[in-house]
Symmetry: D3
Subunit: 308 residues, 6 copies
């Protein structure tokens, strides 16, 4: 059964969800995005993701062509339809909005005021098997020399796709350790985030996140804070650097696709005893209860055939 | 007669030159680009542009799937073909290479090492009539609060499309003066460049460009330096700020589509007498001789019907 | 009936309150200041303003020639006297102290050690009608490219008059929108303050102020925090940027002359629904109760004749 | 015989050259300035100073109420008149322009658009005896912790009076060594300038000045470069730090009042042999020939009675 | 009776505790350190210091050759032994670990992987008489122009010995006031720490420390926070600058050798009334109770003969 | 035959050249250094190195206990003596001066004013075999996330040993590629230098060095500029970043021990064709002529037995 996507007012087959080479999302990177996942084929934290997406739009001066209510309807329809053809797998749903087709490149020679935003929603099945090592062995983070955008250039508080610097940083560290994940510093040397997740440390019974000025505050980070509050584990935001990670008890990457992954090494130095820690395991367990599914098993039990 | 484009090894109809929503150029902005124009239907400074494009690829860790020689052949073929359907208009040729299709999004779940770059060349006719006011009245530049990427995050020396910050800056200043052009400062407050051109000042008989660390060194800027050398006008690079523009005799924007445009106001303050200056006119004349076409007339004489 | 001012130990007619061109306040900007207003012809938060003024003096190495007690007496006398000739209008009282007369310029050729500070207090009636639009329509803030002094050069925690950068920034944005107010960023791109007020946002039930390192902590900001505490609305300080303002529910400018004004647009983008918000109105109402005067009516009901 | 000044269109007695406390030059530091001296009672480099003053005005958005030609006439008249009452002493002539009287403070409640600039020219006799030690023993420069304005806040390329930071820095170092001169670093730690002069070093046969981005390029610095060109001594601009001063052969302060003074210590460490150097002496001699007066003798031979 | 030290696995006479000139601690500054003192001949906060030392080692990639337990044993043995020969004086115990002997310099030409860390523990009697003036008159802090390392270069959160910049800064300010202590700013101009202590201010009933990103969080600072908690005095971390010190009620330097010293002047300006304050005295008293020794008397009653 | 060193006024056996643990060079890193090599057993560029060493001392406020002439004599004596026991190998001579023994740690309780500098000269045979791969295959440089000291903290223009940050950076990159050399960026992201050499690129017929503000200007870099001048190859200083290295034709590391080494990869990306280039070979050849020894053969022909 075929999957569908939403493109500029219409549902299309996923294979037909393409953009003309003149789109400003391609030409200028003038776009914002968001991404959620399903649990048991239901969208998780749908409202949180969609509202963040609309805030990203507002900051980027993109006027969504449909109201929030309609966006929610579209999402539900795509998830419902595409789940059927997913062999029981969970889905990721992607939101994407660009400033529209560039009239100069397109040959229609209008002024930017004439642009109509391009609006896409599409989904893909979550390839859990890719992250099995993350959960079993834990992640090795390397801080590349490349630094994350400073907020005076572009706010990291929106989810966008100007990530060429991260592509380059990722290439650099993957030639060192193909399984490593690049952890970006801001221009003052503080820990910021990875290309696809937040980053927090657990030390002396507290969890510390980098300050929100240089990061995209993830919905998973919000869920984490809720679970920590339940567990009466203090949470705070502070400027942290490599030292704090090296001397932490545990470190974690909150992220939409797999909720929370353990980081066990930074720049080749073990964090704690260099293995996924007990507090991570405890939080994953509680998270699993909340979503009604064993998150650990979802990842660790995944095999290539099923998940891809 | 229909125009063609080059897409991943094949010539396709321009209307069929589209990218899947999973392409890393769309998903991560992992792409580089370049752009040249024709004079009298011949590519101008073809070698310069193509070599810069290949340097951009190298920095961005993108391995071009074809050698430079073949790239040149493709370009010539597109220009030759598409000029025929351009009603005599000149063309812009765009180079675009991305890191390829994102296997996770695409559902094929490979590792990044498996990516094959996406390679596009396409053209569009130059809409000269859009820039008529630039030449007749001169340009008003406004420096938005948004700053340009610092080189420690991403080198401005490559031509890329992570320009969401410029989209936002442009929106901000266009709501103030719809015809204004945003001129970006670096994070130290030095003049850098606009979203589509370099920027230089002419003062006391010399031309000063911002230092190359924060700019894309344009091919048109190179041509300008060659003309200045002929005219024995000194040229240097220095950190310049708004003060230097306000007190300059003239200011210019070198750029591929219209070679060199006069800037006559910055932040609502006139530069010189607030009109396109005589040295600009002199350089445009010499440039016209070199390319065998009256550049001034090309722009000023353009009308909407012909150029779009 | 004529108004008086205090100048270096004497009460003089306001028209005679002048400074020689050699004064270091003029020659070097070596001065500090403060400013309070009356409510019902009584000085408001007199102690707060005078103590801040004395702290500013201490930081700037200016030794006040009179003790705090005497400064209070002078203030009361000026307000009492000048209120009589104010046709019922409220007053602003200005404190101003400079490093004294520059002996080199004055021709007396002593050393800086010989300087005697210049000390002025003067008043003027509050022109409420000027701010009517602020309250009725709300304020449009624009962030100019010019940035606020960093604290390593000069502490923003004192109230001083080295504000040429703000004069320039104001000129730039007023040519875009004559009614707009310039909102300055610090050199890292964080929101700091306007030339005459603090700036806070209200979002999700909390109020956030920029951190105190880059701002003058206003007495009105202190009053605001007191009212928020009464209303059990959380208040915190954080590094905020344009994104946070764009996505806030409301934004306000606390300031001595009109207490708290609603900001409804930033860089041409509406904040919330683009109109003065209900929480602002609620706070103004509570503030009015505290001072025994309807602040909203004072501004909105002002006409040119009465207030100037 | 009494001296005169120019104030807003009129010549007044110097003692009557005063500013109302509401002037924006006092209230906001919204002013620019310039300063020249006479040699043999003739203005020195009059054109250079006046043109720089007009450039400062343009950057600061101050529209001079009289054209340059009239400014020159006013200057000549003041110098001619005031030289008569100067007992043979040379004069300094000061230019000063502000944004005008602040209508809100003045009670006239207009908008900034209504401001008329305040324009002053005034003179004072040069107190050469104050600088005798500078020439005989040489100057001790100390770098305070306070840093100079960065150009992204306010360009140092104009001559203005927002110098409260320098007042504070001066106070700090004078309590350490009352005769020392504060030499300011920029926010990156490069040498910038003192409160009243430029600063250059002489090393291995070349003269190096800080880069122009963080300094006011003095007219005396221009004269110095002309003399160096005559003497075939290379001159360049570079980022220099304390190390370069400590290891220089000589260091000098070019400045209008006394042309060029020798710096012999920095932060208590001697430069070269800790005494005024031979190259300084040579340049002062050549400078004296050019102006037709023995500059060294003018300073060293000055006594308190004559010069003050 | 002779004192001993620990050097690379052996107890040696203190006089024989020397390092070869090839040690990487000397050649590259590749070392970390820590330092504790005794109270009544017992190590104070031994666990805190040793754990911090091991965290410093981990960050610096130095693998301690002995486990923590053994380190504690060594410390106790040195203190026990050396206290006997200390004439009743208290001791300081120093931990020092380097990356080991540099094989290239040593002529053994191995690769860095071959290095064995050098590990030293040694003690010295505390020269309390040196700090008598600190307690009786209070300390004068001066902020040199030299700035402290930014964390992106080297974390201040470890205790190390790359302090040449502090040696230079100290020399500069001691030539101004031989008894002054250099207080370092970070590269943004915030107060950081002195070469041998933390720095906090007490204002309006609260204690404020610089943020931990630019400082070594001292064990004495931890003790201070414990005492403040007992006394119900709020404590927070914030970016503070010179202004905050100038306008504080008191300022203190927490440090291992003498626990907490009063700072009474900064850059020649008195803090509070310029004398050691009552809250400092109160905290020292409580601290004395906690350690079972009168800390004030220990310092103030010290004489040269006894303590050195 | 035994080798000697110079230590505080005396020649001692190398094995006895040790420093007490209290030396300020160890305790505070308060030291400077320099290093030269022999060619044919004669010191190379002796004057250049010694004068730089004395300049480093002056900046660091260390007063050398012997004049330059005597330093030269000591050097010659050590080289003459130690060459005899070097089996024909060339030597490195190291200069090292510290602020002297720390009286507090040493128990002698004086004040810093009492310090006598520690002065060491010592030599070691050059282990050329270690660098064979550098010449044969070329060097892989990796830019760690750790950044080099900014000049506002400590000038890189002196040769010192506060290099813990480089130790850490080196450890990080060596765990990725054990043969790689760490190339440090400054805090703005510009290329600075490696822990033991300068770094230059060769591109389009010119050689570009990073600007001198963030580097130690090597004596080998000076020699390189002299050879380039002979060969009429332009040389300039500019801010360069990773992009410039990636797109260079060749890159080289000038350094005392092996003069000039080819860099063939940066962050795993080949420079040019990824092999030592012809211009490097040409310069090495000319350099060999100048020093009367085949530098290439010295390295490539070295074997472990002979050189270590």
């Amino acid at each position: 059964m075929s999957t569908i996507a939403y493109l500029n007012g219409q549902f299309v087959l996923s294979s037909e969800c393409v953009l003309p080479i003149y789109d400003t999302g391609i030409v200028m990177g003038a776009s914002v995005t968001d991404l959620l996942r399903t649990f048991n084929h239901q969208p998780y934290r749908l409202q949180d993701h969609v509202h963040r997406f609309y805030r990203s739009c507002k900051y980027a001066r993109l006027l969504p062509p449909v109201p929030i209510g309609q966006t929610l309807e579209i999402s539900k329809k795509i998830i419902e339809n595409n789940s059927k053809s997913a062999d029981g797998r969970e889905l990721c749903l992607v939101y994407y909005m660009t400033a529209g087709e560039n009239p100069i490149y397109a040959g229609a020679a209008g002024l930017p005021g004439d642009l109509k935003p391009t609006y896409v929603q599409h989904s893909f099945p979550l390839p859990f098997h890719l992250w099995k090592d993350h959960f079993v062995q834990g992640i090795h983070c390397i801080t590349p020399a490349v630094r994350h955008w400073p907020p005076q250039c572009l706010s990291s508080k929106i989810k966008h796709r100007n990530r060429l610097h991260m592509w380059i940083g990722d290439q650099e560290i993957k030639r060192m350790d193909p399984k490593a994940v690049a952890l970006y510093l801001d221009i003052d040397g503080n820990i910021a985030e990875t290309g696809g997740s937040n980053f927090v440390i657990y030390r002396d019974g507290s969890v510390i996140s980098p300050k929100r000025k240089n990061i995209l505050w993830g919905v998973s980070l919000t869920v984490l804070t809720e679970i920590l509050a339940e567990l009466r584990i203090p949470f705070c935001e502070d400027d942290i650097q490599t030292y704090d990670v090296v001397t932490a008890d545990e470190a974690w990457m909150p992220t939409t696709p797999y909720c929370l992954a353990p980081v066990v090494k930074i720049n080749s130095t073990p964090i704690g005893d260099g293995r996924p820690g007990p507090m991570w395991r405890k939080i994953i367990s509680r998270w699993s209860e909340l979503v009604g599914k064993d998150i650990y098993q979802e990842i660790v039990g995944a095999d290539h055939k099923v998940s891809s």
